[in-house]
Each structure stands twice: as C-alpha cells, then as structure tokens.
C-alpha cells in the first residue's frame, strides 16, 4: 500500500517493508503470555491500599492498630511512616518550563489528601483478600477541606488554594506570539471564533498497573518486575526515592498488557509496594484493580480552548489565536509533569498550514483530581480538533470545499525544511500527497454525491477531514533533556554474534505489543544479512539491555531502530574483517547474505556459524593481531531537532440520528507518513488502534467529577470505552517520506491515529449537522450533546 518503492541506501535490507509476523503473538494466542500478575515468587505477599475518600481532606488521626493485628498481615504503613522510609518528596517540574511550580509530593498522603483516590496507607498481607480485609479496619479521622474540581474556579480571586506554599492554583503559563496577530485579525475578510471543551479521560490499559518487587538483603539487590514502558527511567526513580544505587536495581518489564503512556510515570502506590518489599525482605506484589485504576492512573485531556482563525476571502489562512485552560490534578506528575498537554496544544494547532501569525496562550491549573500527564498523542487530539474545526468552519463560510481549503493552505511538499508559526522546525512532510491519496481512497467526490442523495432521503451524513502533524521521537534539546528529568532521550543497541552464528540484539526501547522487538529484528537481520530467525531481540530488562529511554512519544522505531541499524553495521564490519583474514580476501569484496559471507561472485565462502565457532572456541585459527569483539554498541539521539515530525490526514464518514442524537461511524480513512515503513502491517495496526482510542475520547470517554471532586463513573460499566460493535472499518494507506534525521529514515507512527481521529469525527458530525445550523464543539460528542446542538433538549 506504500506510495513509493523502497529504494537505495537501505535497499539491501531485505526485511524493511515486509510484514513480518510478531513472535510474541504466538505465545499470546496460546494463553502463554507472561504478564506481571502471572508471576509468583516464593513467600510472596500482596499489597492493598487505603485511598482517600475525599477530594481534599486533612488526616486528623489514623489508627492502624486493628489492621496490624489482623491475621495474615505483615506490614501496615501510613503515609507519614512511608515518608520516613523514602529519601524525600519529588517535585514534578521541569526547568525547561520557566515559572512552572508544583508542590512536593510524597508517595502516600502525609497529613492531607489532595484527590479522591490518593493512597493513604498500605497493607501487606498473605493474600490480596487478607490485605483488603485489614485495610477496611484502618480508621481515619478526616477533616474535609474545600475542593477545587472545576478549572475556571481554580483561578477565581478567592478560590481555596490547594497547596498554600504555591500561592495560587496556577501550575504554569505559556505564551507564543508570532507575527502580528492583532493586525492580521483586523485585516481579515473572515474571523471564526469558537470555544471548545475536552473532557478528562484516561488510558484504561486492559492490564492494570502491576508490580512485583523483591529485595535481597544479603546483596542489596532490588528486583522489580513491573508493567512499564520505561524500565531505565523507573529504575532511576525507585533508586533515587528509596536510596538504593541505580546499578543495584533491576527492572524487568515482562509482557505489558497495554500502556499508552500511562505506564511511564511515577506512582506512589508502586513506590510504597517496593518500600514494603525492602522492609520485609520478601516479594510484594501490587496489582491495581479496575476501580483504583480509574482514580490513580494518570488522567488526561481536560482542556477548555477558545480559538479563532483569520482568513482571506480567497481562503488563505492568515493566523490562529488560541487560548487554552488546562486542568491538571492535585500535583504535577513526576517526572514528566502535567503541563505537556497544554504545551503540545500550542505547538500543533494549525500546524499543517503556512500561516504567519500565531498567538497561543495556555494556563495549567491544579485541581483536586487525580494527577494528569502524558497519555497517547499528548495534546494533539485537542490541537488538531481545534485547528481543523476552525479551518472547516472558515471553508464553509467562504463556500470553499474543505479539501480545497486545505490544499490552498498546507505547506507544499517541497517547502521543507520550514518553520511553523508556533516555532517548530518541520522537515520531510507530505501534506499534499497525503491529501491527494486520501481523496482517491475515500472516493471523495462520490461520497459527497452520496451524502447529498441521502440528505434528500432524510438521512443526515457527514464527511470530516483532518490534517495533522505529530511530534514523534523527541530529542534531548527539547523538554526532558534540558529540563533535568531522569529520562534518557538517546537509545541504544548491543548486538552480539553468538558461537552458532545466531545474533542477540539487546535494545533499550520496549515492547507493549506494537511490535518493537519484531521491527528491531527486521532492521538487525536486514543490515547484517542474516535470516530473521537468526536474530533474537531482548528488551525490557535493565540487567540485559543497554541504557535507554524506553518507549514513549512514538520513539522506538525511529530512535531505537537507528541504534540497531548502526550497531548491526558495526558488527557486520567486524565479521567481514575477520572473514577477510580467514579467507585471505579483500573485505570490500565480501558481503553477508543469508547468514553466510559471500564473495563478489556471490559464492558462499563462510557461514556465520563458522565464524562464531572460530571466534569463540578455535581462536588459534585467527591471526595473532585479531582479538574478536563481536559485540557492538551504538547509540542514537537527535542532535538539534525537537522532534521527528510525522504527518497525515484522516477522513471520517458518519451518520447522525437527529431524533436520538446517536452518531454512527460508517467508515474511517487514514493516510499517514511515518517515513521509512519498516513493517506495513504493524504500522497499519498502530494506526487503526490509535484511531479507535481517539474515537473513544471523541464520542464516549469522560471521567465525570462532581463539584466536590468525586469521580462518579469510575467503573468500566459507567465509563464508556469503544467496543467492537460501534467502531468503523478503518482504511489505512501510507505515503513514505523518509526522515532526513537518520539513515533509517523512520518516524513514529504509534500516536498518529489518536492524534487526529477526534478532529475528523468532530468535523464529520458538524458536516452532518450543517443543514440544521447546529454544531458541536465539545468532546465527548454524546447523544445529549448532539440533541442540545439541534435544540431538541
């Protein structure tokens, strides 16, 4: 389905562009996946937590005696007692966000709980049931305090301040001002302004957060098996917080049952569990149940946006003006902060277009709710929904077709490198080709005719288009690297030739089912010239892999993959040098094909198994000057760029029932450009899954809090997630513009679906509602939202 053939410098990499099946899939379909909760260790205990029932309340007294006396209980700790066992509180700020502030946070509430669900006490027992029984015996005398649950109230003049030492509830404020926005808007032929609401939602990985810690008191070695995307980051966090040297902490991420960004953070209950394991010298397991997941996993997306667009009669976009009010939780999440969502909204709104006047302002405020932070496609679903809605409204008001409107304004495919009005470097994008391909795949004109015919029959259908840019694979000069967080923006590969000619490829990036290990194997096998079966990829174990940032920000393929490519080339170079000595041949005339060294005539001269055998066991056959290494490490980081940007376009086709307000998704299309396509099938499925996650936020998902800060729908029965019956078929196609920032040329693909699907769906709904002069600008777009827009309720 790729637009372009795969060509030149990597042409010899025979596995690039092939849909190699994932190895892990075979284990999973047999029920032999191995997730954290599947692992039992001898003398293992189980942790349960008491969580704050109040959004904001002082702990006047806490009585743990009855819980401690309960049969089968080994340890009970209050937040205050735990605080004495850690090196200090953490503070979720990054120095790159100037002026940002957050209160010090301990793993469990010490004298005050600041959100309903904050852990207050840990109980460790022989079974989870026993621990939960004992937890119920803990008596806490609470003094309720005023709670802030609504973000506009947070900055009101006499609003209660959640953390007095901060002075107010403001976490961060940011402004971008490019060009001359006032003049551009004053001189525009048309200005469209709109306000938008995006509801708080959360990741809902099907496997909840899971951790099993064990501490060897004799050696001081701490081993933590946990469902994590970023083993090295969390190694540093646990080491720092618990006062154990990093190198004595092993993090093992076994199979990870979904993560989507929610498993890249520091969670107090997990720290408490590890502290308990250290104290007891016994393995302690904590598996969040679904109810506590809803109130303790990071939340995301709670933003109000007021935005306007200035356009000329010709359709030319002059500028955007965007004002964001973002609702964080009670603390800024450590170590990635809770302000990225607002920051990214400012970065990407209107990003596909070459306007020159841009003003973006964002305020992030603290609320007595669970902390918010990075969740798949951080900020992009919002920035894209806002920007693309305004472009659509402007197009319709000017009588220009939405596709044509976009064609007139996108950066031309040959205009890169360019700088967006928000100040971002853009390279190697392909909006024009993506639009052309989308129009063909959607049969856009035909679909418009069908829409018209349906309208005559009283059926209201809508077509929505949404272009996007997506920041992927962040570089160290950006936020984390310069902000002081223990997050590595480089990634690494150690590749080794084994005695049998097999290849071990250990990588710092991690696998959560997206196929990281498979594509790393494809890159290694291709670059080395061995069959893919000869390569085993190891990830997710800090004792076995080189230091890496792990998987977040759609970075595994582009950053980790480049490290693999370079490491494999280094290994190949050494193998050929050894072969040339053994064969008395010019290394430049040797090549590795299908696991054997071949000469210029293509004749098999020396299998890698033979080289492996000689270099490990028959070293006497080597020349005196040769000390074989056969283990090569390479690292890769972006040097100057903030991100490797990917781009693409979504199309949505929906039908609205104007009596019930129900939105039916008829079909969805995506054309995206993730650069060099390594495994088309895996890329397609990342896009499809991402779309549905985005659609969840657009139509269903909403953590509903009441005025007192109580979550009122924290069960999977009440919090709606997308299920099979409501989801559309999703057509995926690719344009392939390799990134110029690496030799591999890959860009991230994991978040593209989530980042733009909500924009396309909202535009499609509004297209369907157009004959009624109604529109929706809040998500989720529930039946009620639609009926309100139609004036029916």
């Amino acid at each position: 389905m790729s637009e372009k053939g795969r060509s030149s410098p990597l042409g010899q990499m025979s596995y690039l562009g092939q849909s190699v099946p994932r190895l892990g899939a075979k284990a999973a379909v047999a029920g032999r996946g191995r997730y954290t909760d599947d692992i039992q260790l001898p003398r293992m205990l189980h942790a349960a937590f008491v969580r704050s029932p109040y959004a904001h309340a002082r702990i006047v007294d806490i009585d743990l005696a009855a819980a401690r006396r309960h049969e089968g209980i080994h340890l009970v700790l209050s937040g205050r007692e735990l605080a004495q066992r850690v090196t200090g509180p953490w503070v979720g700020t990054l120095s790159c966000f100037a002026g940002m502030k957050s209160a010090p946070q301990y793993p469990m509430a010490v004298e005050r709980a600041c959100w309903a669900g904050e852990p207050v006490a840990i109980v460790v027992g022989r079974t989870r049931a026993a621990a939960e029984d004992a937890a119920e015996l803990i008596r806490i005398d609470w003094q309720e305090l005023p709670a802030i649950a609504e973000k506009r109230a947070a900055l009101a003049p006499h609003a209660p301040v959640i953390h007095a030492e901060l002075g107010d509830n403001l976490a961060f404020r940011k402004a971008i001002d490019t060009g001359d926005v006032e003049s551009a808007f004053a001189g525009a032929d048309l200005v469209v302004e709109e306000t938008f609401e995006f509801a708080r939602h959360t990741g809902v990985s099907l496997e909840p957060r899971s951790l099993l810690a064990t501490y060897d008191k004799a050696t001081g070695k701490l081993t933590i098996i946990t469902s994590s995307q970023c083993p090295h980051m969390i190694q540093r966090v646990f080491a720092e917080t618990l006062g154990i040297p990093d190198h004595n902490v092993q993090i093992i991420a076994p199979d990870v049952g979904g993560s989507f960004g929610l498993k890249i953070h520091t969670y107090g209950d997990e720290v408490a569990t590890v502290a308990a394991a250290i104290e007891l010298g016994r393995p302690v397991k904590f598996i969040a149940d679904r109810l506590e997941s809803f109130v303790s996993d990071i939340h995301a997306r709670e933003n109000s946006v007021t935005a306007r667009i200035a356009v000329k009669r010709s359709g030319e976009i002059l500028g955007f003006d965007v004002d964001v009010l973002s609702g964080a939780g009670a603390y800024s999440q450590y170590p990635r902060t809770s302000v990225f969502e607002a920051n990214q909204i400012l970065n990407v709104t209107g990003g596909p277009y070459r306007h020159r006047h841009y003003r973006g302002r964002a305020s992030v405020v603290y609320l007595n709710k669970a902390p918010s932070s990075q969740y798949r496609a951080v900020g992009h679903p919002i920035g894209n929904a806002v920007g693309e809605h305004l472009v659509d409204q402007a197009a319709y008001r000017l009588g220009i077709d939405p596709i044509e409107m976009r064609r007139r304004n996108v950066f031309a495919d040959d205009a890169y490198p360019s700088l967006s009005a928000s100040g971002i470097k853009l390279k190697d994008l392909s909006h024009q080709r993506c639009l052309d391909l989308l129009v063909r795949r959607m049969r856009y004109d035909e679909l418009r005719r069908e829409q018209d015919e349906m309208r005559l029959a009283g059926i209201q259908r809508g077509i929505g288009i949404a272009l996007f840019i997506k920041g992927t694979s962040p570089g160290p000069l950006g936020y984390y690297g310069s902000g002081g967080a223990p997050i590595s923006l480089q990634d690494a590969c150690v590749i080794k030739l084994e005695p049998n000619g097999g290849v071990i490829c250990a990588v710092g990036v991690t696998e959560q089912g997206q196929g990281t290990n498979t594509i790393m194997g494809q890159i290694a096998a291709g670059a080395l010239g061995v069959p893919i079966e000869a390569v085993r990829v190891i990830s997710g174990d800090t004792d076995a892999v080189p230091y890496g940032g792990g998987t977040f920000g759609s970075r595994a393929a582009a950053i980790g993959g480049e490290a693999v490519l370079q490491a494999a080339r280094a290994l190949k170079e050494e193998i050929l040098a050894i072969a040339s000595e053994l064969l008395q041949a010019d290394p430049a005339r040797l090549e590795i094909v299908d696991g054997s060294v071949v000469d210029a005539a293509g004749t098999r001269r020396l299998p890698l198994a033979e080289i492996g055998r000689i270099c490990h066991f028959q070293l006497g056959e080597l020349p005196a000057g040769r000390q074989p290494v056969l283990s090569h490490t390479r690292r890769f980081r972006l040097v100057e760029d903030l991100y490797i940007f990917a781009n693409g376009v979504h199309g949505a086709y929906v039908e609205i029932d104007t009596d019930t307000g129900f939105v039916r998704l008829l079909q969805h299309w995506v054309v995206e450009d993730c650069g060099r396509l390594i495994n088309p099938q895996l890329a397609d499925e990342q896009v499809r899954g991402g779309c549905v996650q985005g659609i969840g936020g657009a139509l269903y998902e909403h953590l509903i809090y009441d005025a007192a800060g109580q979550l009122s729908n924290g069960t999977l029965a009440d919090y709606l997630v997308p299920m099979a019956a409501e989801m559309p078929e999703i057509d995926v196609a690719h344009v392939e513009t390799p990134s110029s920032l690496s030799e591999l040329g890959a860009k991230g693909v994991g978040e593209s679906g989530t980042g733009a699907a909500p924009a396309a769906v909202m535009n499609a709904v509004n297209d369907a509602l157009r004959p009624f002069a109604a529109r929706v600008t809040s998500q989720p777009i529930t039946p009620e939202t639609v009926l309100v827009a139609l004036g029916k309720i």
């Binding site: 849909s19 099946p21 994932r22 892990g24 899939a25 075979k26 999973a28 379909v29 047999a30 029920g31 032999r32 996946g33 191995r34 997730y35 909760d37 599947d38 039992q40 049969e71 049931a129 026993a130 029984d133 015996l137 990741g203 809902v204 990985s205 099907l206 496997e207 909840p208 199979d255 990870v256 049952g257 979904g258 993560s259 598996i287 149940d289 679904r290 959560q512 089912g513 997206q514 196929g515 099938q681 499925e685 499809r688 899954g689 991402g690 779309c691 549905v692 996650q693 069960t715 999977l716 029965a717 997630v721 997308p722 299920m723 099979a724 019956a725 989801m727 078929e729 999703i730 679906g753």
Partner: protein, 166 residues
C-alpha cells in the same frame, strides 16, 4: 469480614480432574490463575464488563470474575490453555497471528474464547454480526478491525472446508 471460610470442590479443568479446598469468596478466575496456574485467563475489570476472563464452563461462555470457584463444583471448565491444547481453534489462532489481530495480547484469550463460540455455531457471519458478537470483549490496542478480519477469515475457511456455501 468473614475471613477465610473454605469449601472443598471437585471439577474438571481442561480435561483434568481437580480437587481443592477454596475460600468460599474466591472468584473462579482467581482460583484458576493463582491456585492452578492457568494464567492465560486474564483479569481486566473484575466486574464483568471487559471480557478478559472469559471461560467455557459446561460448554457455556462465562465471565470468570462473576463466578465463584465454589460455583464451579462439579463443572467442566475450559480455559484458553485447554482450547489451545485441543486444537479446536488452531486455525483461528493462526489467523490472529497472521492478521496481527492482537497487540498487547491481554484481551486475546477472552477474545478467542468468545470467537470460539461463534465458530462452534458454524455459520458464516457478516462483519457487523461478528462485531456484535464480540461486543462484550474490550480491546484497547487493535481498534477491532484486524480481529474482525481474523474471525471472518476463519469462518470463511471453515465454511469452505465444510463444503458449505459462503
């Protein structure tokens, strides 16, 4: 706060006779996973919504989190491990792998259990009907499209193999 009142149960799990004393409040899925080590059955919500713990009990698809272990006394229980060993859904498993109809794999055993029920009915289904049938199984990764492809392809292959018209 009843603590650990227990009862003996006898049942068949994946064809093997099992006798055990279980806490009366223990869910079937926790017994299968924690006590017997059949960890292929997963726990996603513990309130009967997500379908990750889907099992076959006396031939019927049930939620392992909504049934107590003591309720399975005398029953015949089949988990994903049993389905895998019997070869009953080998073609479906193969289709899931080929079509990449799973990512993290956490929902997959439950999804296969639910799809197996559809295969047993032996009729070709539309994609919409397949989606309807799987609507009780939450998958956060795939977006469902590939799962529907895999189930649909398996139904089709079986219909061909059985000489039925598709």
């Amino acid at each position: 706060m009843g603590g650990e009142e227990s009862m003996p149960i006898r049942l068949t799990v994946n064809g093997e006779a099992v006798t055990h004393v279980v806490p009366v409040r223990q869910h079937l899925v926790d017994f299968l996973r924690g006590t017997l080590g059949f960890t292929g059955t997963h726990v996603g919500c513990e309130h009967g919504v997500c379908g990750a713990c889907s099992l076959r009990v006396d031939g019927v698809l049930v939620r392992g989190c909504l049934m107590l272990a003591v309720q399975a006394d005398g029953a015949e229980v089949v988990t994903i491990e049993g389905l895998d060993a019997s070869g009953e859904i080998a073609d479906l498993q193969q289709a899931f792998v080929e079509r990449n109809a799973l990512q993290c794999g956490f929902c997959t055993p439950g999804m296969l259990m639910a799809a197996a029920e559809l295969l047993r009915a032996g009729e070709q289904k539309t994609r919409a009907a397949i989606r309807e049938h799987l609507a009780g199984n939450f998958c956060r990764c795939t977006g469902y499209h590939a799962i529907v492809d895999a189930v649909s392809a398996t139904l089709e292959r079986r219909a061909h193999a059985g000489g039925k018209r598709v």
